[in-house]
């Protein structure tokens, strides 16, 4: 199909949605906020969304040996603190110097015990993969904990993307997202399918969803009724316990009603003209990443979801992404580059880092351009970029970059470094910054103090 024709098809707004949108707009004014308004009260709707996006790159970054004399190609900045300078491989990110920070010294204590090839499986979970709980392999990931708390405010709990579709296979997983039960969530890798899922939900599945929600609401109602009849026969002090239960039921009902309303609320009007949905992971890496980043930015802007995980490439020579350096004119595959000890190899590896930095800069730019009620989408999104290995499967000092989230108290423009800092503590700090009251995350021991997180 010719590109042009396909694009037109994409832009064409479906008329029934427009109609309903007009009606609703007439009644409610602020269209998008409607369900939230009903369910949570006005103050919630006035707050800008708090979003999270995790971007994973496999095999670590190039950290050239000092004897090669190319330390300006080290992914980590040379100086620590506010005076840091971008290295050559991160130079494209300079325009965002005030909106991002490098974090150094991070690690998963469990990462040092497990097979280093499975570091992507635990990057967002911190789970003891070397010694899993009976009956389990992994545990819940950060993006899904966030989704658990943000899903009632948006249309879809989370979006899970990867360079390869599905889950790959365990211990070489093609997804970085694990659900509440610790099971991998299959990732989507095809831009067209991602677009359809986000912006073109089909009627039939919407109706199924609506039926399910409606029925659930009825059942919750029935339980409420049954609980109230019981409540009358309880002792005074115990009515409080029951009240807690009733309150919880009421809240669930409100959430369900909100979700049901989402189905009818038309999407925010957005410009899709820059989207090229014909790209695939088998084509040019640059085009592919940019389209995927376009989609993420659009999804955030329309508040379709508030939690996104995207695995940019895979560990240990798995999948298509291993060949990307070759496509970019370098001489070795991604995994082989990560093992390079020679000067030429380490330089090439850094050049691949440079390529990724360029794509990342593109992404930050997109997020910057979309505006929320307060600040840009970037100001209201925490973007975490990094790897589960620093270089060549070494599970300590994980390369990590955090960007955005100014409205959630993130104070940027620094290279923060503290030896042997638990990644889970960073995750907990992210949760707290987002106003999510989880007591702990995985093996966290507390939040990060004196770091980029000012509201923990």
């Amino acid at each position: 199909m010719p590109v042009k024709q396909l694009r037109e098809e994409v832009f064409m707004p479906s008329t029934p949605q427009l109609d309903r949108r007009a009606v609703l707009k007439g009644i409610a004014g602020a269209t998008l906020a409607l369900p939230v308004l009903d369910a949570m009260g006005e103050d919630v709707a006035e707050k800008p969304p708090k979003r999270f996006c995790a971007l994973y790159t496999a095999n670590g970054m190039s950290l050239p040996k000092s004897e090669h004399g190319i330390s300006d190609w080290n992914w980590f900045p040379q100086a620590k603190g506010k005076d840091f300078q971008f290295g050559k491989s991160t130079a494209p990110l300079k325009p965002f110097a005030k909106q991002l920070s490098f974090l150094g010294g991070l690690y998963h204590p469990n990462g040092t015990k497990a097979d280093p090839h499975i570091c992507s499986d635990m990057w967002l979970t911190g789970a003891p993969l070397h010694n899993p709980q009976p009956g389990k392999f992994n545990s819940v990931g950060l993006d899904q904990v966030i989704a658990k708390h943000t899903k009632q405010h948006c249309r879809q709990p989370s979006l899970v993307l990867s360079i390869d579709a599905g889950v790959g296979f365990l211990s070489r997983t093609g997804t970085i997202s694990y659900n509440l039960e610790g099971k991998p969530i299959p990732a989507e890798n095809n831009p067209r399918r991602v677009f359809d899922r986000l912006f073109r939900a089909d009627r039939a599945s919407l109706e199924t969803q609506r039926d399910h929600l409606k029925r659930r609401i009825k059942l919750v109602d029935a339980v409420l009724e049954s609980a109230q009849s019981l409540n009358k026969r309880l002792g005074r002090s115990d009515q409080q316990t029951m009240d807690q239960y009733l309150t919880s039921l009421n809240e669930i009902e409100a959430r369900l009603i909100a979700s049901e309303k989402w189905i009818d609320i038309p999407l925010k009007k957005q410009d899709y003209s820059h989207l090229d949905l014909t790209v695939t992971s088998e084509g040019e890496p640059r085009d592919y990443y940019r389209t995927m980043f376009d989609l993420i930015a659009l999804a955030f802007d329309a508040d379709i979801t508030r939690s996104i995980a995207f695995m940019l490439n895979r560990e240990d020579g798995m999948g298509i992404s291993d060949t990307f350096p070759l496509k970019l004119g370098l001489t070795r595959t991604h995994h082989n580059l990560s093992h390079a000890g020679d000067k030429a190899g380490q330089l090439e590896f850094a050049k691949y880092d440079l390529f990724l930095s360029e794509q990342l800069a593109y992404f930050f730019d997109r997020l910057q351009q979309y505006q929320d009620k307060q600040g840009s989408v970037l100001d209201n999104s925490i973007v975490l970029y990094g790897s589960g290995a620093s270089t060549t499967h070494y599970p300590k000092n994980l390369p990590t970059l955090i960007a955005g989230g100014a409205n959630m108290g993130l104070r940027h423009g620094t290279f923060w470094h503290k030896k042997e800092t638990r990644m889970s503590n960073v995750f907990l700090s992210i949760l707290r910054s987002m106003g999510i009251a989880e007591e702990s995350f995985a093996d966290s021991t507390g939040v990060l103090h004196d770091s980029v997180f000012s509201k923990v």
């Binding site: 579709a165 211990s171 070489r172 299959p186 316990t241 029951m242 020579g317």
Partner: protein, 1013 residues
């Protein structure tokens, strides 16, 4: 002991409640204060007299800001509210024994003291005569209770509760305390999701035939006449059985109902993964059942003696699966060796499965160790000799049946050689050592060696011998020496021969770097030499699954594994396990529709009348779920849910499901409810009693019989019979598991990070068994109704082979994984206080920690809990360069202001455990000094003296602590002052019967604590 310290020691007991040994100091019943004091006290009021005295003498330290020792007295008023009675009682004692105010502070006059004491005494008496209000109770089911209840109610094995957040832990350590239980929308939402999922698992479409997957893998040398022609490659360390040594057949088991057999997929297309870990991008097609199912042996390489596994015509022989951590001191993700697994791509999505292993105990010989066992030097004519220099397979004549030692005479080469020895149809492969390091380097011909190789029982007759050897070694001769049945070697062989391999089945997934497997059911001892069928059952979703999407293009993705092992216990040699075949069937149904379905859609003559039948179904289900008859209002409401749904969908099953979702998310199901008409204490009704009993003793819902008794109003009358029945029931393990774990804080051991260099024996598998020891001990003592003092001191431990091995008494246990009493004959074993699971849990995995152990002891064993550290704890002083012993450091800490009060009630207990290391084992030769002066001034030399002291002087307190924890667990709430006084006063009456364990459970159940609401 100085007055100051004594005062502090007593003061620490003020905190919380129920921590003082009142029995010795409590005035005898009926004792009245002298009339004069009584007179003063009676005319006193709190505001006019008591408050000014407190202000003058106490409040300077015990005020809102200073809160010395965490105690505030400024909030006290004249009402003596329930929650303050503990504080008043401890004040009374310290006023009477003049330990407060402390030395150096202004003191009240003697008269003031007397009058104040008299007033408090009277006020407490008066407060006690007020009954504490009783307003019934509502407790949410704990996660464990909810899981058990769902399983018992629905009959499904799947554990769907993984998404529930863990329960909070109360200050006594329990998860079932109503006050610490939280409820959140997320939790309630999860209840809805679980209810729907659970019912979907139970309810089937009756009109559809089930689809059943079944296959058999047979094992044996050259068993497969048409093996897979392709070479299978499976990534790193791909160790597979030879294609011709296993055969897979899809089966159609006989079932009493019609079903569709599931045909496993045999043709595939993959774009990567089929050349191991090398990146390949190119579609390739595969077409054979052996690309869907194959026999994998991947595990850690190496085995201490003999071959880890061997295929013989009769099956696959397996030696115990030694965890890699045992072999090499560090864990490898490849799992143990030997590690046989059926690897396969497809298993059912849900439901139960059954694995049947056809297995036998191999008629094995005991491989000898050439470096420690010596060949028998006897006159040649005593031995039967096989000359191997001319033929590798001579016949030999065994004249007399018996135990033989086989020595091998051979010319070694530079490397150890593998000797494959076959005697008749029995196989004994082993290793022959390389040549000894030559003293004369120039010697051309290596000299022959004669080594002890095997102990084996042989029958009389002619024996075909086959021997082959590798590495250019040359066999010269084998000598068969019949050995005296009384000899040490023969005894050793007999012990070996009596041991049985333990068959375990594991299910999970294959990873690139190993496997993640979980055990299916309990391992089973294989005692017979003839093949028997061993059945293992589980629910497929309780096991790790790779969760790959349909059509995953990687050859290696999504492999499931069914592991079959000879389980490793303690490393003693045992006969090999012979596996003939492994069969799988799933989903496994006895009937169709399955029992889970028929439990809901009960037999009825009204099946053609939807409204009436719906009413019956709902009534039956809801009554079981609510653990009592449903009320008319409840039934009507549920029936309405059904009707609304049925009117809309016309789908009877779906609409029933909707009504049942409401049942399973209703508070009547999720909560343990004791209704209350008012603040007066009332008797539990019979149904409430049934639930309270069953959640106490089974941690699950009452069974049919309890409910029947409740319905007939005979439960209260037959209480003791029911208690005994419940304790004897297997579900009682759910009590010991919960109660013992939480009372003794075993969760600390679960999360311990052990320093494996120091404690290499604390492997994961060993830890799992040590964790179980305290639980099994409590279970044993209760089931046998033994005296409480056995918790403290006992000449047996309740152990299995793994636990006994850890304590160095492996030779006393021959029970495999089964926990049985074992006479230990050791000075340093017996009772809870020396159990490794407890002591190691109270360390940091590196060093023992007397403070943790002391605090645990005070809290759990004698119920004199220390307070939490006060908010203004000063930093510990640095050691300023001095090399201090642990004792000195503790002393220094104890003497620091702010620490002393609590630590003087903690450390003395903990120090007594110093002869036990962080791994919980007795350490000899170390300079860890266990001498201690206990808070009451008693001097002890070591832990044994502490035990003796507990039994002689403090047994009442230990009994109180046990009963207190029982009562808190049984009622799901903290005890109030009345409850504590009741336990202290009444519990002691059980002493005349030795405080027997089951008696104490009965005592708690019969008390008003339990029976009133």
């Amino acid at each position: 002991m100085s007055r100051r310290v004594l005062g502090a020691a007593l003061l620490f007991t003020v905190i919380g409640w129920g921590m003082t040994a009142v029995l010795s100091t409590r005035p005898a019943d009926g004792e009245e204060p002298p009339s004069a004091k009584g007179h003063i006290a009676q005319s006193w009021t709190f505001q006019q007299h008591v408050r000014p005295l407190l202000k003058k003498n106490c409040l300077r330290c015990h005020n809102a800001e200073t809160m010395e020792s965490g105690i505030r007295l400024d909030q006290l008023d004249g009402s003596l509210a329930q929650q303050r009675l503990f504080l008043w009682r401890d004040m009374l004692r310290q006023i009477e024994d003049e330990s407060m105010p402390p030395d150096g502070e202004p003191q009240p006059s003697a008269d003031e003291r007397k009058a104040l004491a008299a007033w408090i005494k009277r006020a407490i008496e008066k407060a006690r005569s007020r009954h504490a209000e009783k307003n019934g109770s509502v407790r949410r089911l704990t996660v464990a209770q909810y899981r058990n209840t769902l399983r018992d109610l629905l009959g499904i094995q799947e554990d769907l509760t993984g998404i529930l957040p863990p329960d909070g832990i109360s200050k006594e350590g329990f998860t079932n305390n109503g006050e610490t239980m939280s409820l959140s929308p997320l939790l309630v939402e999860a209840y809805f999701n679980i209810a729907e999922k659970a019912l979907d698992l139970c309810i089937v479409n009756e009109r559809e035939q089930p689809v059943i997957q079944s296959f058999r893998m047979e094992l044996g040398e050259n068993i497969n006449p048409t093996p897979c022609p392709d070479e299978l490659i499976l990534g790193a360390n791909s160790m597979l059985l030879r294609n011709q040594d296993f055969q897979v057949t899809e089966l159609q088991p006989d079932k009493p109902f019609a079903y569709r057999p599931f045909a496993m997929r045999k043709s595939f297309r993959f774009i990567e993964g089929y050349q191991g870990n090398d990146t390949v991008r190119g579609w390739r097609e595969f077409n054979s059942i052996y690309h869907a199912v194959f026999a994998c042996m991947r595990g850690t390489l190496g085995y201490p003696r003999g071959h880890a596994y061997q295929c013989v015509p009769e099956g696959l022989l397996l030696r115990p699966a030694i965890p890699s951590s045992e072999l090499f001191g560090e864990s490898s993700t490849y799992g143990p060796h030997s590690n046989f697994k059926v690897s396969l791509r497809e298993l059912p999505q849900q439901g139960n499965f059954r694995v049947v292993v056809d297995a036998a105990r191999y008629d094995d010989g005991l491989l000898l160790n050439p470096s420690t066992d010596t060949p028998i030097e006897s006159p040649e004519d005593d031995a039967i000799t096989a000359d191997l220099s001319t033929t590798p397979s001579p016949n030999i004549a065994i004249a007399t049946a018996g135990i033989y030692q086989i020595d091998v005479d051979y010319v070694p080469s530079e490397k150890p050689a593998m000797l494959s020895l076959q005697l008749g149809d029995r196989h004994f492969p082993g290793t022959l050592p390389q040549q000894k390091p030559s003293t004369e380097a120039t010697e051309e011909k290596p000299s022959a060696r004669n080594v002890a190789f095997l102990l084996v029982r042989l029958g009389a007759g002619t024996l075909d011998l086959k021997a082959q050897v590798t590495e250019q070694s040359q066999l010269r001769m084998m000598r068969f020496h019949r050995i005296d049945e009384q000899s040490r070697q023969a005894q050793r062989f007999v012990a070996f021969e009596r041991r049985s391999p333990i068959l375990g089945v594991h299910v999970g997934l294959r990873r690139d770097c190993g496997s993640t497997l979980a055990r299916v059911g309990e391992p089973q001892a294989v005692t017979a030499k003839e093949s028997r069928r061993f059945v293992f059952e589980g629910a497929i979703n309780n096991f790790p699954s790779p969760d790959v999407e349909e059509g995953n293009p990687n050859y290696l993705a999504g492999f499931r594994e069914i592991g079959v092992r000879s389980e490793f216990t303690d490393g003693r040699a045992m006969p090999r396990l012979r596996i003939r075949s492994v069969e799988f069937e799933g989903p496994y149904y006895e009937t169709w529709p399955p029992a889970t379905h028929r439990n809901i859609f009960v037999q009825s003559t009204n099946r053609d009348d939807p409204p009436t039948y719906a009413r019956e179904v709902i009534l039956k289900f809801a009554s079981r779920a609510f653990r009592r008859p449903v009320t008319d209002a409840e039934l009507t409401s549920l029936h309405n849910v059904w009707k609304t749904s049925f009117d809309e969908t016309k789908d009877f099953q779906q609409s029933i499901k909707h009504a049942l979702i409401v049942v399973l998310t209703s508070p009547q199901f999720l909560f343990l409810v004791e209704e209350s008409a008012g603040p007066e204490a009332e008797d539990l009704d019979e149904y409430e009693l049934a639930s309270k009993l069953s959640y106490f003793l089974w941690n699950s819902a009452p069974d049919e019989r309890l409910i029947e008794r409740a319905a007939a109003k005979t439960l209260r009358r037959s209480l003791d019979i029911e208690i005994d029945r419940m304790i004897a029931d297997p579900r009682f393990r759910q009590f010991t598991q919960q109660f013992a774990s939480q009372w003794l804080s075993l969760d600390k051991f679960d999360v311990l990070e052990v320093d494996r260099k120091r404690y290499p024996q604390l492997t994961r598998d060993t830890r799992a068994q040590l964790r179980e020891e305290p639980v099994q001990t409590v279970l044993h003592l209760i089931r046998k109704n033994l005296p409480l003092r056995r918790l403290i001191q006992s000449d047996f431990i309740v152990a299995n082979d793994v636990v006994a091995h850890y304590y160095g008494i492996a030779d006393r246990s021959e029970s495999g994984f089964q926990f049985l009493p074992v006479q230990h004959e050791s000075e340093n074993l017996g009772g809870l206080l020396t159990q490794a699971g407890i002591l190691a849990g109270l360390s940091d995995g590196r060093e023992s920690n007397p403070v943790k152990r002391g605090a645990w002891f005070a809290r759990k064993i004698i119920a004199e809990p220390p307070d939490d550290p006060p908010p203004n704890v000063p930093e510990l002083m640095e050691d300023d360069g001095e090399q201090l012993t642990l004792r000195q450091r503790l002393e220094r800490h104890r003497n620091q202001k702010g620490c002393a009060n609590c630590h003087s009630g903690i450390d003395p207990w903990g120090i007594a455990f110093e002869e036990f290391n962080a791994g919980g084992r007795y350490r000899t030769g170390d300079v860890h000094d266990p001498r201690s002066t206990l808070p009451d001034g008693t001097e002890i030399e070591n832990l044994n003296e502490l035990k003796a002291y507990l039994i002689q002087d403090r047994l009442d307190r230990v009994a109180f602590s046990f009963m207190k924890h029982l009562a808190v667990y049984a009622t799901g709430r903290s005890l109030n002052f009345q409850d504590v006084v009741f336990l202290e006063q009444e519990g002691v009456k059980l002493k005349s019967h030795d405080y027997r364990m089951r008696d104490m459970i009965r005592f708690i159940i019969h008390s008003d604590l339990f029976m009133k609401k």
